[in-house]
Amino acid sequence: MTDAPAVGQSTARSDARSKVTGEARYAFDHAVPDMLFGAVVRSTRPHATIEEIEKDQALAIEGVAGVVTAQDLGDLFPRFGHLIADHPILAIDKVNYMGEPVALVLGETIHAASDGADAVVVRYSDLPVMADMETALAEGATLIHPATYPKGDSAFEEAITEPRDDNVAHEASLEWGDVDAALADAAVVVETTVKYPKLYAYAMEPYNALSTVNEEGLEVITTAQHPFMVRDDLARIFSIPLSKVRVRSPLLGGGYGSKSYTKVEPLASVGSWYSGRPVKVALSAE
């Protein structure tokens, strides 16, 4: 043990050497034998019902091992989400946003999976589009999400609201003291509305997960900031005890909050459950 005081001394990062030599391995770099690659087929409509998903052109492509849609999930719990399980793993009957996952194509190579995804044909019929807040909150606007989600979500019972007939997902108001009195004799009252655009805290390492499902349970290598939340979601999807779900987050290639909560782990896991082989899903920046 050197006796140099730790305080006031710069000590190199323990992982610095592996990072400057390229040896450092991120979830993105992991691969296992017999692994399949997953390519996601995404919705090209902002809000539409799914009329039909045609798999046969994709299945005819050499190297395509399978195409998974919501209809193939059997008795798995088909949704995930931390507060409310409002993220379908694969769109169920309708798509709620442009780019929502509709099918997962499994390929022996990333190329086969990608060609397969290009070949899946999805027929939609459009629903009213609520592209901004005003339209979504307008009187009589079509509901995007169901009126409410079943109480069965054990994470936060109180987050489940009574059935609503509007598109308000969550409402909160913070008040203390006598607001009206304060406003009444205030010198100036300034009122404003703050709108946040879509934000995406880009982390250099893309979202990815490598999942292996077998009789003992499920192991996932993923670039997640909250591995325990991912574990909760996966345990609920497969209705297995937490002890049977192992989530490993090796070095993260950045997160900044954008890798909180569950991302592509359910997709990779249902792909592995469906095919009986490990499945890796890695997204692109697009």
Partner: protein, 271 residues
């Protein structure tokens, strides 16, 4: 992770071999810095690519009479560092060193930049300002055209599918002084302004070419001493609003950068 679509590869070593392979579904491949990205986005799905990098004649960079000739496979970096460009066309060097980043400059070709006709190209405005011409060769024989005639619209060049852009020819000895100023906050410029004083056999012309803000670059020629005001130029332009800014914002930025480029031109000694 997204991947390229499947395609076959031709690797010709002569222009004739390349021409035999080229068609609408068999596209020329230089550095691929724009073509491969468009393919990855599934905007283009050619059956095959014709790799022109191994054709010696396309790597020429030489003087022919009073023109500089740049072959169809010459990269931005090679041209920028070439003694002939350093001596004879320093403004071209200064612009080429502004293209993309060091990797794009090392792989991307001037000819590829022209053919892809990206509306925010740095290379197109300066070649337009320098009165460059291009030669398109095919089994039907060569065609020569100006940059104006080549660039028809965004991503739309007048190259026929079976034609290869074999060389770019730039007249020499005309530029008295020149500047290139661009405003860029993202991967591509919001506006690029090339301004130069141009002496073609006696009459000096002050030329301004504005790129990136409109679907096609905009060129204005002025006689010496004629007052030039960025605002009045910007007002006449069909500005394209996009992620880089609204129409009003861009029109304002164009006006400012035209004035700044002209002020810089007055102070500039280098050609």
């Amino acid at each position: 992770m997204s991947v390229l679509p499947p395609f076959a590869l031709h690797r010709p070593s002569t222009i004739t071999e390349a021409l035999e392979a080229l068609s609408f579904d068999d596209m020329p491949l230089g550095g691929g810095t724009e073509l491969l990205l468009a393919m990855r986005m599934r905007m283009l799905r050619p059956d095959s690519l014709v790799n022109i990098k191994n054709i010696p004649e396309l790597h020429t960079l030489e003087i022919d009479g009073d023109h500089l000739v740049i072959g169809g496979a010459v990269t931005h970096q090679t041209a920028a560092e070439h003694p002939l460009v350093v001596d004879q066309l320093p403004i071209l060097r200064r612009v080429l060193l502004e293209v993309g980043n060091p990797r794009i400059r090392a792989s991307g070709t001037l000819a590829g930049n022209l053919i892809f006709a990206e509306p925010k190209s740095d290379v197109i405005p300066i070649l337009l300002a320098l009165d460059a011409t291009v030669t398109l060769v095919s089994s039907r024989g060569p065609r020569n055209m100006t940059i104006d005639e080549l660039i028809l619209g965004p991503y739309y060049a007048a190259r026929e599918p079976d034609e290869l852009l074999s060389e770019i020819r730039i007249p020499l000895g005309r530029v008295l002084r020149a500047v290139y100023l661009k405003y860029q906050t993202m991967e591509r410029p919001t506006v690029g302004v090339a301004a130069l004083d141009h002496d073609s056999d006696g009459d000096v012309v002050r030329r301004v070419v504005i790129g990136a803000a409109t679907e096609l670059p905009v060129r204005h020629d002025f006689s010496p001493g004629e007052p030039i005001e960025g605002k009045s130029i910007a007002e006449t332009m069909e500005i394209v609003p996009d992620i880089a800014g609204s129409e009003r914002y861009k029109r304002h930025v164009v006006a400012i950068y035209v004035d700044r480029a002209l002020a810089a031109l007055d102070r500039e000694e280098r050609a």
